[in-house]
């Protein structure tokens, strides 16, 4: 029997599901966990731990366990993607107009001036001490964990819910799955059709894994008459321009899937699919701007 809890956190719709005959006691605590993590990780809260960290440069700052774990997840994502996915693009995403929660972001954003930034510093340029759990930001560098934070939150929630039974956690499209369902069957996860809200264009049959989708179909806005979105190319410091609309990736866990989806999106359909094929742990479904859908070889296992 599926026990579902839907709530809103981190600017997204969240869902936690436990497949169990008995009522899972921990399920009701999930919104509290997300609220706690958002208070640490949100760049939109002036009093969050991340906001305070971003205000301190050139000296070590001791951080909480949660921020440290997400920082490490971000470091692993950067290593996995050779720097394509990095949390050091805070200035660029703000310059693109994403300077407040998306719910209150005006669709038409006017800017009077153009600001040109230097190339972002990779996370490897950030000094940190594992034993002391301190982070030292270089001058002019801020952190924005974005999807990595949501992926981590889904992953962490799943770990805690697993004691109640087979579980699935969906954090705004980033999905963590513990294993097979109680009856031994797979979880059915739909891939949202970016052209028609609410409809599915594919159904995936999944066991222990993570799923994530990156795209420019939802979090986008207009700035000076030009469409902007939230996926920043670390080379150009601008919203990335490729032939892709969305990328859905199935991976070993939700954090890796999220990083892989974003990296593939930045690379575009051709190089992105090559990248996916070179990493055997991932499977992907690409939706192109022109409506074509591309499948990686491994995705056949989940259809």
């Amino acid at each position: 029997m599926l026990h579902r809890l839907e709530f809103r956190a981190m600017g997204c719709e969240m869902l936690a599901v436990v497949d169990s005959e008995s009522t899972p006691a921990l399920l009701a605590k999930v919104p509290e966990w997300f609220e706690e993590w958002e208070q640490v990780l949100s760049r939109f809260r002036y009093d969050s731990e991340l906001t305070r960290l971003n205000q301190i440069h050139e000296r070590p700052v001791q951080v909480s366990d949660v921020l440290w774990e997400v920082f490490q997840a971000a470091e692993q994502a950067e290593q996995l993607t050779n720097g394509l996915v990095t949390p050091t693009l805070l200035d660029a995403i703000i310059e693109a107009g994403y300077d407040r929660p998306f719910d209150v972001l005006p669709h038409q954003t006017q800017y009077m001036t153009e600001t040109i930034f230097a190339a972002p510093a990779p996370q490897t340029a950030i000094a940190f001490d594992k034993s002391a759990r301190t982070i030292t930001l270089p001058s002019g560098t801020g952190l924005d964990f974005g999807g990595i934070a949501k992926g981590w939150a889904a992953h962490e929630t799943l770990k805690r819910l697993q004691s109640e039974g087979p579980a699935l956690v969906n954090a705004g499209g980033d999905i963590a799955i513990s294993g097979t369902r109680a009856d031994g069957g797979p979880w059915q996860v739909g891939v949202a059709n970016p052209f028609h809200r609410g409809r599915e264009m594919e159904t995936l049959y999944l066991n222990e894994c993570g799923v994530a989708t990156s795209g420019k179909d939802r979090r986008r806005w207009t700035r000076n008459g030009v469409f902007q979105h939230h996926i920043i190319d670390p080379l150009t410091h601008q919203p990335v321009e490729t032939d892709l609309l969305t990328v859905t990736v199935v991976g070993p866990d939700v954090m890796q899937a999220e990083a892989a989806a974003k990296a593939a999106f930045i690379l575009g359909s051709r190089a992105g699919l090559e990248w996916i094929e070179e990493h055997p742990g991932f499977a992907a479904l690409f939706t192109l701007d022109n409506g074509h859908i591309l499948y990686s070889t491994k995705l056949e296992e989940y259809l």
Binding site: L2, A171, I175, G185, G190, E202, A212, T213, T246
Partner: protein, 119 residues
């Protein structure tokens, strides 16, 4: 008075001269005029195109695909995005079904427990 014996012959000479001139002219024309046209055509070929005419792009040769594993579901580029919805759902019938795996039913009307979408 007898007719001049050479009157006819003079006319014949004039005719012969005129014929020779015409033949010579035509012969020279055929001999020199055609090569001149060819030369002219050859000399015009490498000349610069009219600057008001848009420069021609080099022929586009399709690059060999580097994605041997890619499966393209759509064979036609939809002219409207609404076509995109119908086509994948039609092709879905071709894919293997796992509905009989005994998943015990999902939530709500859709068989999926949830959806992944761009966040």
């Amino acid at each position: 008075m007898p007719a001049k014996p050479n009157a006819r012959n003079w006319n014949d000479v004039q005719t012969a001269i005129a014929t020779t001139a015409i033949v010579t002219t035509l012969g020279m024309w055929n001999l020199f005029a055609t090569p001149e046209k060819t030369v002219a055509a050859q000399t015009q070929e490498p000349s610069e195109p009219n600057p008001t005419f848009p420069p021609t792009e080099p022929p586009v040769t399709p690059e060999p695909t580097l994605m041997p594993q890619v499966k393209i579901m759509f064979t036609q580029i939809p002219t409207k995005t609404t076509n995109v919805v119908q086509q994948p759902q039609q092709t879905k019938k071709k894919k293997k079904k796992k509905d009989n795996d005994g998943n015990g039913g999902g939530g709500g009307g859709s068989s999926s427990v949830t959806q992944t979408q761009s966040s």
